[in-house]
């Protein structure tokens, strides 16, 4: 997809605008590319027993060339937001176009019975139950609520085996969605 706009660029632009203006609580867009096909979001889970304030969860969303007929590629990633410390900010403060508050913390892959330690997520919405009526926003909300409602401090039962042979792209994995309880 290098160069050239995505065929559904207009839709992506609408989604992008809506995401940047009516920001979702606890979800911050930390990075996006010009073509609006690659995004990184930071998801915060507050008041949770398992997830601490200093845990930083980053979700990578990559729009495939067949979007929105095809689901986006979504996975958790370890991502370092560039932390601008105060001294730096003072010396060339006016050059910063907007003041972005980067929380202090450790980037992590959230622990969840449906999230593998390599960041892959077993979620029906990202696979066979995707429809073009879903959107970047609906994916973000699903994943945020998936974390919010989780109370199990565990990885999927086959985590070690899966991570060893997992393809780079989680979309190449055929997940079997067997557990509706979490």
């Amino acid at each position: 997809m290098a160069g050239g706009r995505h065929p559904f660029y207009k839709r992506l632009l609408k989604e992008y605008k809506s995401l940047s203006t009516n920001s979702l609580s606890g979800i911050t867009m930390v990075k996006n590319d010009e073509n609006l096909t690659e995004f990184i979001f930071r998801i915060e889970v507050t008041n949770h027993t398992l997830y601490k304030k200093e845990d930083l969860f980053h979700l990578s969303i990559i729009i495939t060339s067949e979007y929105p007929v095809d689901s986006p590629r979504v996975q958790f990633v370890i991502f370092d937001e560039i932390v601008i410390d105060d001294d730096d900010k003072d010396s060339k403060g006016s050059e910063n176009k907007d003041t972005v508050v980067v929380p202090n913390g450790v980037p992590k892959i959230p622990i969840h019975p449906h999230v593998y330690s390599n960041g892959h997520i077993c979620l029906n919405l990202l696979g066979e139950d995707w429809t073009p009526a879903c959107s970047i926003e609906s994916v973000l909300l699903s994943i945020q609520s998936m974390l919010n409602t989780n109370d199990k401090n565990e990885r999927p039962p086959d985590d070690a085996a899966y991570v060893k042979r997992a393809p780079l792209n989680p979309k190449s994995t055929t997940f079997i969605y067997h557990d509706d309880t979490v």
Binding site: F8, K10, R11, E15, P68, V69, T131, A133, I176
Partner: protein, 136 residues
């Protein structure tokens, strides 16, 4: 006084009649967007340049969801669509309200029929499928 018309320009506007009860005067639906490309129905799908007959609207008959013909065909071409409406996941069927059966409409019909056959086959083989899933 005599007026001689030297030249005149006619203007007209149009929009798709989408409401089932035919209330074409209600302007509310003008804002409605195709659920797939999120462009107004009176606009075009991303692949077309001019709105109108070249980029027609398909009216869902089972559900009440409408789409640009090109958008819904793109979706139904996917196996993962299972022939379902993207908005409500009911089996997608459409109102055959166009007098001419264009190649594109024929294509839509073929896709819908194809999914129906797949569904019927799946129900027949359902037990085998389940056995297979348990193994993996």
């Amino acid at each position: 006084m005599k007026v001689k018309i030297v030249e005149w320009h006619g203007f007209s506007t149009w929009h798709w009649k989408l409401a089932a009860d035919g209330d074409a005067n209600s302007s509310a639906y003008v804002d409605e967007l195709c659920g797939i490309c999120r462009v107004a129905f009176d606009g075009t799908c991303p692949n077309c340049k001019y709105p109108g007959d070249d980029c027609p609207i398909v009216l869902g008959s089972g559900c009440t969801h409408n789409f640009h013909l090109h958008c819904i065909v793109k979706w139904l071409e996917q196996d993962t669509s299972k022939g379902l409406c993207p908005m409500c996941r009911q089996i997608f069927t459409y109102k055959e309200s166009y007098p001419d059966m264009t190649e594109e409409l024929a294509n839509l019909k073929t896709l819908i029929d194809g999914h129906r056959v797949m569904r019927e086959r799946y129900t027949e083989d359902n037990q085998e499928f389940e056995a297979f899933e348990e193994e993996t």
